[in-house]
């Protein structure tokens, strides 16, 4: 799956320049997610105190940022096991996320969830869970509720190429088309489901874009490592969905750099073809975008350095917050079994 292959699948929004303000926000967002995740991965591996299965998004940040940077706070998103980038890009509270990884009472789920169960209602991040595909219908339900309430609001669902193999993906998309729901499904096709490559899971040459289009959705695909392309396609998708024209399926080609679950590299496992990781690293979404921004004169080294420093401080503060926060006390074991 290359970005080129995707382009042939559907209309490509070739576009003009992204407005400077938006572009700068994107670069900042990508940089921030990258630095946060890198630092967390480091700490995770070293301390062994963030004791929960953790799936990093390093290498895939442009999708999260390109999509979420165009959303209002009260527009909602769902995600799955690999949700840090979506959570952060949507504006989720960093301290609460880090504390959640440390299993602390101040965590976004009070420690009961961990990395695979992030939530931040304040910014419309309504939840992520690690059962592949599960949040697709839940996200559609979110949009459906808005329609039932006669106040249609966009909902965005993030998931991977593996999730596109689930029955509920099809059931949900068909329902969204049937009811013309304001849903945008964002599929990050990173070529793998755990260690399994696409060829043992999906028919060769069969395009997810064609499938989605056959369901009756608007289907758009492009290069997920090019933030501008993500931005443009997303803009088109949002205009469609917000305008009441029904759901959109967005597929972005991208690539995961670290192991499927955990903070380390995994080239020794041998499931990635020789050189593949390097080739994708050459298309680092951060570097690509930073270079472009510099070329456009919208950013320079000094700006990047100052943002880097600021983000560094932010992460360290969040890590300190997480470390120093109290654990939930034993009596919290049975709180929140039932809502009332």
């Amino acid at each position: 799956m290359t970005a080129e292959a995707l382009k042939t699948g559907a209309t490509m929004a070739e576009g003009g320049q992204i407005p400077p303000e938006a572009a700068r926000r994107m670069l900042d967002g990508i940089l921030r997610v990258r630095l946060i995740e890198q630092r967390i991965a480091e700490v995770y591996a070293k301390e062994q105190l963030m004791r929960c299965p953790t799936h990093f998004s390093i290498g895939q940040e442009a999708v999260a940022v390109g999509v979420c940077s165009q959303m209002a706070k009260d527009e909602k998103i769902t995600s799955a096991h690999r949700s840090h980038a979506h959570y952060l890009a949507k504006g989720g509270d960093l301290k609460a996320m880090v504390a959640e990884l440390y299993g602390k009472a101040t965590g976004c789920a009070n420690g009961k969830g961990g990395s695979m169960h992030l939530i931040d209602n304040n910014v419309g991040f309504i939840g992520a869970v690690p059962i592949v595909g599960a949040t697709i219908p839940i996200g559609v339900g979110c949009a459906y509720a808005s329609v039932l309430k006669k106040d249609p609001k966009l909902a965005v669902i993030f998931f991977g190429d593996g999730a596109a193999e689930t029955g509920v993906f099809h059931e949900s998309l068909a329902f969204a088309v049937l009811h013309k729901l304001p849903v945008v499904m964002v599929c990050e096709n990173n070529l793998y489901s755990v260690l399994s490559s696409l060829d043992v899971r999906q028919p060769p040459g069969r395009k997810l874009l064609d499938l989605a289009a056959a369901h009756g959705a608007l289907a758009l695909g492009g290069d997920g490592n090019d933030a501008d392309e993500v931005y443009r396609l997303t803009a088109q998708a949002f205009a469609h969905a917000r305008g009441g024209d029904g759901p959109v399926f967005l597929e972005f080609a991208t690539y995961r750099w670290l192991e499927h679950c955990g903070p380390l590299n995994d080239e020794h496992l041998g499931y990635r073809p020789e050189g593949e990781l390097d080739r994708w690293k050459e298309r680092d979404p951060l570097k690509l975008y930073a270079d472009r921004m510099v070329a456009r004169g919208l950013a320079d080294e000094a700006w990047i350095d100052s943002r880097t420093a600021a983000i560094h401080d932010e992460v360290e503060a969040a890590l300190t917050f997480g470390r120093e926060s109290p654990f939930p006390v034993r009596s919290e074991l049975d709180t929140y079994l039932y809502a009332s």
């Binding site: 219908p137 339900g141 809502a339």
Partner: protein
């Protein structure tokens, strides 16, 4: 309290009607929910009254349950309805992995007020895939509430409680209860999801029963009374959370327990009743408790076998006699061709 008589199915419908009138967030989704058959009449007229809130759906139980959950997380109160429990089997991931745990696993940040109604089929050859009574499963899942009303009064009161509850509730409705009549007050009332209700007072033997087995227990108790055996009946209408205290209290008095459930035996709900009573009241027990359940077999379709598959009031009677140290006595004869596959003569095929 009014003495108005309603059918069980009418009570279910009225509960939904009242909740829908009171709260625009309540809506019904289910295969055929708005159609002319209206889930055996249990949603009758609601689609006309609330045209935007009784919603048909594709045959996509897993996805649609996820959609319903998503709406519940967004302020709606879906009542997802399955005309057979088996169809909910497609949606176990959404019900058990997600809806049941959402509130807990997100530290109370969100809640999932939704009701999942499942009709438990029986008779007229419903067979292996249209008659399973899997309350044991749902009752085993922390975070789900599970109700099995056995009377029209309870059907309405419990279903209102369920719809108004802020978490997921599974409501299992035995098909053979749909046409029974009972006293149902008008207007809004709740029966809290809580301890078993005493339906009949007695002193010799405690019968703790669920759903349709409660009706069978009533029939048995009448026969037992004629023999001078006084049975106390406790209807377990809420299986999760399960409060067994009224059963323990009753066994303190009677010293004898029959646990009668509509499900299978191994790791079934009757076993839980027994375990609770033994844990809390071993010394009260004069005799070993008896479980009346389905055998651990799939449901056979032919009535020649299902006639022997479903326990009868007679089984309760015989168990009670034996608990009282009396001879088992003659068993009622059942012939293979008997029409035990319908609850009453008004019931004809195909369902």
């Amino acid at each position: 309290m009014s003495e108005r008589q309603l059918k069980f199915v009418e009570a279910l419908k009225e509960a939904q009607d009242i909740c829908m009138a009171a709260d625009p967030a309540v809506y019904i989704m289910g295969l055929g929910a708005p159609d002319a058959a209206s889930i055996f009449g249990s949603t009758k007229g609601l689609a006309e009254k609330y045209p935007d809130r009784v919603i048909d759906m594709p045959v996509s139980e897993a996805g649609m349950t996820g959609v319903a959950l998503g709406t519940a997380l967004s302020g709606m109160r879906p009542v997802m309805t399955h005309i057979r429990l088996e169809f909910a089997m497609l949606a176990m991931d959404q019900i058990v992995n997600h809806a049941a745990k959402w509130h807990y696993m997100f530290g109370g940040q969100a809640s999932a007020p939704m009701v999942i109604r499942c009709v438990v089929g029986r008779g007229w050859g419903q067979g292996p895939q249209h008659s399973q009574s899997l309350q044991a499963w749902f009752a085993h899942v922390p975070g789900l509430k599970v109700i099995m009303p056995a009377t029209p009064y309870d059907a309405k009161g419990l279903l209102i409680s369920a719809i108004e509850d802020d978490g997921p509730v599974v409501c299992l409705e035995h098909r053979w209860l749909y046409s029974i009549h009972g006293n149902v007050p008008e207007g809004h009332y709740r029966l809290p999801m809580g301890p078993a209700t005493r339906l009949r007072e007695g002193s010799d033997v405690t019968i703790a029963a669920t759903s349709y087995m409660t009706l069978e227990a009533v029939k048995a108790a009448e026969r037992l009374a004629a023999e001078g055996i006084s049975a106390e009946i406790l209807d377990v209408h809420t299986l999760n959370p399960f409060d067994a205290s009224p059963i323990l209290e009753s066994v303190k008095k009677t010293g004898r327990l029959i646990a009668a459930d509509t499900g299978c035996r191994n790791v079934g709900f009757a076993g839980e009743i027994v375990a609770r009573v033994v844990e809390g009241g071993l010394k009260d027990l004069k005799e070993a408790p008896v479980r009346i359940t389905l055998p651990d077999l799939p449901t056979p379709t032919t009535r020649a076998l299902s006639n022997y598959y479903y326990p009868q009031p007679d089984d309760i009677v015989v168990a009670a006699r034996q608990l009282m140290g009396r001879p088992a006595g003659e068993r009622q004869k059942i012939a293979p061709e008997d029409f035990l596959d319908v609850p009453d003569s008004s019931f004809t095929g195909p369902f």
